[in-house]
C-alpha cells in the first residue's frame, strides 16, 4: 500500500476543508464507512484521538515490544498511553466502597457494579486489542420483546441483516465453518461458506468434545444437547477455495505503508489479546489503509472531538469543534472546526455518548447515554486430568453455543461458553502466577520446575460464560463538569448494575460448569474473591463478574424519536446530518461479541450516506434500507 501523505494532513488544512463526510473515530465503524464512501469518490476525513501511529511494521513491532516488557499485561498494555487522549485500563477498576465513585482512571465509576471493561484510543480503535471472535447474533436476539417479553426489539430483523453479515465477514476476513453454526435458528444463504476455513480445533477442544458432545442439559422447559463447535473469528487461516461461488478469498496481511509482505497467517502464538505479534488478527487499520488507498480519505490524528455544534432551528450539525495536540502528554492544543455535509460519530458507545452529552445533546428521547450494555463474564477454571497443550493456538478455537437461545429467556439471560486455549490467564494471571507459586511456595528449581510448570500450566482449562445483559435506562454513561481530562473534555461517568435477569444465568452457569468439570474428570479450581471488583451475590452465592469490553446501547436504535436515539440506518432522529455509528446503536447484544454486528450495521450506514449524498453512485443494496423500518 502506498500513500504516506494522507496520514499527515496538517490540522489547519483539514479544518479549512469542507468534506463530504467527517468521521470521528478510526475504529472498525469509522474505517468501514470511510472505505465504502471513499471508494465511491466521496471526500472523507477520519479524525482519531490517539497518536495515529502503527502504519508500518516497525511501529507495530514497537507496540509488541511494549507489551512484552509491560509488567501489567492489560488490554491497553501494548499502546502508548496519552495524557491528551487517555484510555481506560482494567486495573483502574477497584472495589467501590461506601458508594464513593472511583475516579483514579479515565472512566469515573459510579457503581454499584465495578466494570473492568476498556477500550483503546489508537488507530484502529478497540479492534487493536479485541480477540476477533466473529459470531453472528441469533434471530431471537433481534426480537427479544416480541419473543420473550424482555428487552427491546430491533427495527431490523436477522433476515434483513444477513446479507450485511456476509459483507462484514468478507471485510473482516472471517475463518469459520457454516455447518458448525447451525443452531439457535441461525440461517445462512444456500451454499454460503465463510471466507476462510475454520481455525483448526485445538487438542483441548477435541479432548473436551469426546466427553461433552451430546451431553443433555435441561434449561427451563427445554432440553439441549451440548456440542463443542468451532468459533468463527476474524483471523487469517486457510482461505476457502469455495468462497464467493468458487472465486476464493484473498486474505489481507499485515498493515504497512511500506511493503513488508507479512502474510499474517495465524501461527498460534496465543496472544490475540491484546496484540497479535504476526498481525493474523483483523484490526481496523486494514480497512483504514484500504480507505486511504482510494485517494479520497484523509486522516487527522491527535485530534479529540470536543463539541458537536448544532443549528438551534434546524437541528442540523454545523460543525464539530476539535482539539489537536502536538505532544501526546504535554498540555497545549489548537482548536478547529470540522466541516462536512454529513457527520458520523464512530468513537464507540462510551465516547459517542460522552461527546453528545458534553455538547448538551441529550436527544428528544432523553436516552443519550442510557441503556448501556456489556456482556457479563463469569469465569470458571479447572485442571484437566491430562496435559492438554494449553498455550497453543488462538485464545479460543471452540465454544458451546447450543443454549444461546430458548424459552428460558423469558426468565433469565442467554449464555454461551468459550473454551480457552490460553489457560487461566484471564482469571488468575497464569502462567506468571503459577511460576511465582512454584518457585516461591514450592521451592522448585531446574528440571523439577520445568516439569512442574508443564504439569500445572499444560493442564489448565478456562471456560468463560458470556452472559447477556439487557438494556436498562439506569445503566448509563453521563458527564460531570467536576471530572475533566487534560484537554478539558468531560470524562465518561459510568453507572452500572447487573440485573437479576443476568445474575440468574450466572448462577445457572456456575452449576452447569460444575457438571461439565465432573464429566471431564477435571479438578474445579474456581474461586471468587469477595474483595475483588466485580464481586456480586445472588441467592446466597457469590461470583466475580468481569466486563467484556462490549460497550453498547448508549444511542439505542428504534422506530421512533420518542423512544430511541437513532433509526435503523444509525441516523440521529434529532439531527438530520448526523449518524451515530457502532455498538451504541444496538438494542440488544445477545451472546455475540459486538464487532461483527456493528460492522454489518455500519456497512448499511455507509450505503445510506452514499444514497443521500450521491444517489447515482449508490450500490443496489442501498435501496432497501428505509423500507425495513416497520411502520
Amino acid at each position: 500500500m502506498n500513500g504516506t501523505e494522507p496520514f499527515k494532513i496538517p490540522p489547519e488544512a483539514a479544518f479549512a476543508t469542507t468534506y463530504d463526510v467527517a468521521i470521528v473515530g478510526s475504529g472498525v465503524s469509522g474505517a468501514l464507512i470511510a472505505k465504502t464512501l471513499g471508494a465511491l469518490g466521496l471526500k472523507v476525513l477520519v479524525v482519531e484521538a490517539g497518536p495515529g501511529e502503527d502504519v508500518t511494521i516497525g511501529e507495530y513491532t514497537k507496540s509488541v515490544e511494549r507489551f512484552y516488557s509491560a509488567v501489567s499485561k492489560d488490554n491497553n498494555a501494548p499502546y502508548a498511553h496519552s495524557r491528551n487522549a487517555p484510555m481506560p485500563r482494567d486495573y483502574d477498576a477497584v472495589k467501590l466502597r461506601d458508594s464513593q465513585p472511583n475516579d483514579r482512571g479515565y472512566l469515573v465509576q459510579n457503581g454499584p457494579f465495578e466494570i473492568d471493561s476498556t477500550y483503546s484510543r489508537v488507530l484502529g480503535g478497540t479492534t487493536r486489542h479485541w480477540e476477533a471472535k466473529a459470531l453472528r447474533m441469533l434471530p431471537d436476539d433481534f426480537r427479544m420483546q416480541s419473543a420473550f417479553g424482555r428487552g427491546r426489539d430491533w427495527p431490523v430483523t436477522y433476515d434483513a441483516l444477513a446479507p450485511d453479515y456476509g459483507r462484514a465477514e468478507r471485510e473482516l476476513g472471517v475463518s469459520g465453518n457454516v455447518e458448525d453454526q447451525r443452531y439457535g435458528g441461525l440461517t445462512f444463504e444456500d451454499g454460503y461458506v465463510y471466507p476462510m476455513k475454520r481455525m483448526p480445533p485445538s487438542f483441548l477442544d477435541k479432548t473436551m468434545a469426546k466427553d461433552l458432545d451430546g451431553f443433555e442439559v435441561k434449561v427451563g422447559e427445554q432440553t439441549f444437547a451440548l456440542n463443542v463447535r468451532s468459533t468463527p473469528q476474524a483471523r487469517n487461516g486457510i482461505p476457502n477455495p469455495a468462497y464467493d461461488g468458487g472465486k476464493g478469498f484473498t486474505p489481507t496481511g499485515a498493515v504497512s505503508i511500506h511493503q513488508a509482505e507479512m502474510g499474517g497467517r495465524c501461527q498460534g502464538n496465543t496472544n490475540c489479546v491484546p496484540i497479535c505479534p504476526v498481525q493474523a488478527k483483523y484490526d481496523a487499520r486494514r480497512t483504514l489503509l484500504a480507505a486511504m488507498d482510494t485517494g479520497n480519505v484523509h486522516l487527522l490524528a491527535r485530534t479529540v472531538a470536543f463539541r458537536v455544534e448544532v443549528d438551534g432551528t434546524t437541528g442540523r450539525v454545523t460543525g464539530i469543534t476539535c482539539k489537536t495536540y502536538a505532544d501526546k502528554d504535554a498540555p497545549g492544543h489548537v482548536t478547529g472546526m470540522l466541516q462536512a455535509r454529513i457527520f458520523v460519530l464512530a468513537a464507540n458507545a462510551v465516547e459517542n455518548a460522552r461527546l453528545m452529552l458534553a455538547s448538551d445533546l441529550h436527544g428528544s428521547s432523553k436516552l443519550m447515554g442510557r441503556n448501556l450494555m456489556d456482556h457479563a463474564y463469569l469465569l470458571t477454571w479447572g485442571l484437566m486430568p491430562q496435559v492438554v497443550g494449553t498455550g497453543r493456538g488462538p485464545l479460543c478455537t471452540s465454544g458451546i453455543e447450543d443454549i444461546r437461545t430458548g424459552n428460558y429467556r423469558q426468565h433469565h439471560a442467554a449464555v454461551r461458553f468459550s473454551i480457552h486455549n490460553d489457560g487461566w490467564g484471564w482469571a488468575t494471571g497464569a502462567p506468571y502466577t503459577d511460576l511465582a507459586e512454584l518457585v516461591d511456595a514450592r521451592n522448585l528449581t531446574g528440571a523439577a520446575l520445568r516439569r512442574g510448570l508443564i504439569d500445572r500450566v499444560g493442564r489448565q482449562l478456562l471456560l468463560d460464560c458470556m452472559i447477556e445483559v439487557l438494556p436498562e435506562e439506569t445503566n448509563r454513561i453521563s458527564v460531570d463538569p467536576r471530572h475533566l481530562d487534560q484537554l478539558g473534555n468531560p470524562r465518561p461517568v459510568v453507572s452500572f448494575h447487573i440485573p437479576d435477569y443476568t445474575l440468574e444465568t450466572a448462577a445457572f452457569s456456575r452449576r452447569l460448569t460444575r457438571q461439565i468439570y465432573q464429566r471431564l474428570g477435571a479438578e474445579d479450581h474456581t474461586r471468587y474473591d469477595p474483595l475483588a471488583p466485580g464481586w456480586v451475590s445472588h441467592d446466597g452465592e457469590g461470583f466475580t463478574l468481569r466486563g467484556g469490553n462490549h460497550w453498547a446501547g448508549t444511542h439505542i436504535m428504534g422506530t421512533e424519536a420518542r423512544t430511541s436515539v437513532v433509526d435503523a440506518t444509525q441516523k440521529s432522529w434529532d439531527h438530520g446530518n448526523l449518524y451515530l455509528a457502532g455498538a451504541g446503536s444496538m438494542p440488544s447484544i445477545g451472546t455475540a461479541n459486538t464487532t461483527l454486528t456493528l460492522a454489518a450495521l455500519c456497512l448499511r450506514t455507509a450505503d445510506a450516506i452514499a444514497a443521500e449524498l450521491s444517489p447515482g453512485l449508490a450500490t443496489a443494496s442501498v435501496s432497501t434500507h428505509c423500507q425495513e423500518i416497520p411502520a
Binding site: 502506498n2 504516506t4 508500518t56 511494521i57 516497525g58 513491532t61 514497537k62 515490544e65 476455513k197 487469517n236 486457510i238 482461505p239 477455495p241 476464493g248 484473498t250 486474505p251 496481511g253 499485515a254 504497512s256 511500506h258 511493503q259 513488508a260 509482505e261 507479512m262 502474510g263 499474517g264 497467517r265 501461527q267
Partner: protein, 359 residues
C-alpha cells in the same frame, strides 16, 4: 547442473530442478543475515529481508508447481540440493559467490547482485547468455560432467530461457506438455502474503503467469522499481538498506524519497561467515546445536518434498519446523566459538555431510 538450451522435456525438467535449487540457494544467506540481527533492533531491515526471504519460498513453490505440471518430480532431498557456501548460483553467474554471513553492507551488496536486474549494466553487450565451461564451485547437483553450458547474468534471464523453452515445447506438444497430476499443485490455501499468491499451473497461461511473478518480484520489470501491482522488486528493496530511505511510487532508480530506513550495523551477532561443523569443537553445545540444525533442516526439506509430491497438507507441520529452525539459528548465533576472536556460531547447512557422516 548442465544447462543447455531447452530442446526437450528432459531439458525443461533439468532447468526447473536448477530453478528450485536456485530459489533455495538464496534462502540460507537471507535467513543467516536476517536472524543475525539482534531481536528488537533494525526492525526495518528485518522486515525487508524477511519479506524477500518469504517471497523466495513462494518462488520455490511456484517452480515446484511448474515442474509438477510438466510431469517432473520435485525433490529437495537429492544430494547436492543444498549449496555449499560460499556458493556460485546454480544459474551460472560467474562474477560473485554467495556467502552465509551476518547482516552487513557486504551481505546486502551480495544480495543486490543476486537480485540484479538484467539490464543493469549488461543490456548493451548483445545477447544475454554467455556460453562457456562450468565455473568452479557451482552447486553440483545433477552435474553430468564438464561440458559447455549456458551461464546467465541474472536470474531474470535464466527464467527467460525457461520461458523460451516452454514456448518451444508447447509449440511441439501443445497442452500435452502439461501432463502432471493437477492434484499435486499447491494452491493459495497454503501461501499468501501481500506479495501475491500461489498460482496452480495447469496450462501455458498459468505457467507463464508463475514465471512472470517470479521475475517481477525479483528484479522488477524493465526499468521500474514497482511492478504492475505496485510491489517493489527485491533489488530495490535491498537497495533501500544501503541508501537509508524507502522508495515510494514515482521515484527514479537509486533515488528513493520515502521515509528513512535507519540501520544499525552494529546491532548484529558477530557470526562467522560460512561456518562449518569443523569450526565447532566436538561435544560442544555449538557442535550439538549445529548438528541438530542440520538434521532439523533435512527433516524440513523432506517434508517439503512430500508436500510437493502430492501431500500438500505437509506444509502445515513444516511451519512448525520453521519455528524450530529459527530457535536453532538463535541458539547458534548467541554463542561464541572457542578459540576465535569473538566470532559466534551459525548454521552450517552441511545437509549432505549429515547423510555421509552422521555423528
Amino acid at each position: 547442473m548442465s544447462l543447455h538450451r531447452i530442446t526437450d522435456l528432459a531439458g525443461l525438467h533439468r532447468h526447473l530442478h536448477a530453478a528450485m535449487q536456485l530459489e533455495h540457494a538464496t534462502i540460507p544467506p537471507y535467513l543467516t543475515a536476517l536472524y543475525s540481527i539482534m531481536p528488537g533492533t533494525n526492525t526495518e531491515a528485518f522486515d525487508i529481508i524477511r519479506a524477500v526471504a518469504v517471497e523466495e519460498m513462494l518462488h520455490l513453490t511456484l517452480v515446484g508447481n511448474l515442474l509438477n505440471a510438466v510431469g517432473g518430480t520435485p525433490d529437495l532431498t537429492v544430494h547436492g540440493f543444498v549449496a555449499s557456501y560460499p556458493a556460485m548460483l546454480p544459474d551460472g553467474e560467474e562474477d560473485f559467490a554467495v556467502d552465509c554471513q551476518r547482516f552487513s553492507p557486504e551481505a546486502i551488496s551480495t544480495f543486490l547482485r543476486i537480485e540484479r536486474p538484467a539490464d543493469l549494466d549488461h543490456g548493451e553487450k548483445g545477447g544475454r547468455t554467455i556460453t562457456r565451461k562450468k565455473a568452479r564451485g557451482t552447486v553440483k547437483a545433477g552435474h553430468v560432467g564438464p561440458e559447455t553450458e549456458e551461464h546467465f547474468f541474472s536470474i531474470g534471464e535464466f527464467y527467460k530461457a525457461i520461458e523460451d523453452g516452454l514456448d518451444r515445447l508447447h509449440a511441439d506438444m501443445g497442452e500435452a506438455l502439461f501432463c502432471g497430476n493437477p492434484a499435486s499443485q499447491i494452491g493459495p490455501e497454503y501461501y499468501y502474503s501481500g506479495g501475491g499468491g500461489l498460482i496452480a499451473v495447469t496450462d501455458l497461461a498459468s505457467a507463464k503467469a508463475a514465471l512472470d511473478l517470479i521475475a517481477e518480484q525479483g528484479e522488477g520489470v524493465t526499468d521500474t522499481i514497482f511492478d504492475e501491482d505496485g510491489e517493489i522488486a527485491h533489488y530495490y528493496r535491498f537497495q533501500q538498506l544501503l541508501l537509508g530511505r524507502y522508495y515510494r511510487a514515482g521515484d527514479a532508480r537509486d533515488k528513493p524519497t520515502g521515509g528513512p530506513v535507519p540501520v544499525d550495523w552494529k546491532a548484529v551477532y558477530p557470526i562467522k561467515t560460512n561456518a562449518r561443523l569443523d569450526d565447532f569443537t566436538k561435544g560442544s553445545d555449538l557442535r550439538e546445536a549445529a548438528l541438530e540444525f542440520n538434521s532439523t533442516y533435512a527433516i524440513f526439506l523432506a517434508r517439503l518434498t512430500c508436500a510437493f509430491q502430492g501431500a500438500p497438507e505437509e506444509f502445515i507441520p513444516a511451519v512448525g519446523d520453521m519455528f524450530h529452525i529459527k530457535e536453532l539459528f538463535h541458539r547458534l548465533m548467541r554463542q561464541s566459538i572457542r578459540g576465535t576472536e569473538g566470532l559466534n556460531g551459525a548454521p552450517t547447512f552441511e545437509i549432505d555431510r549429515l547423510k555421509d557422516d552422521p555423528e
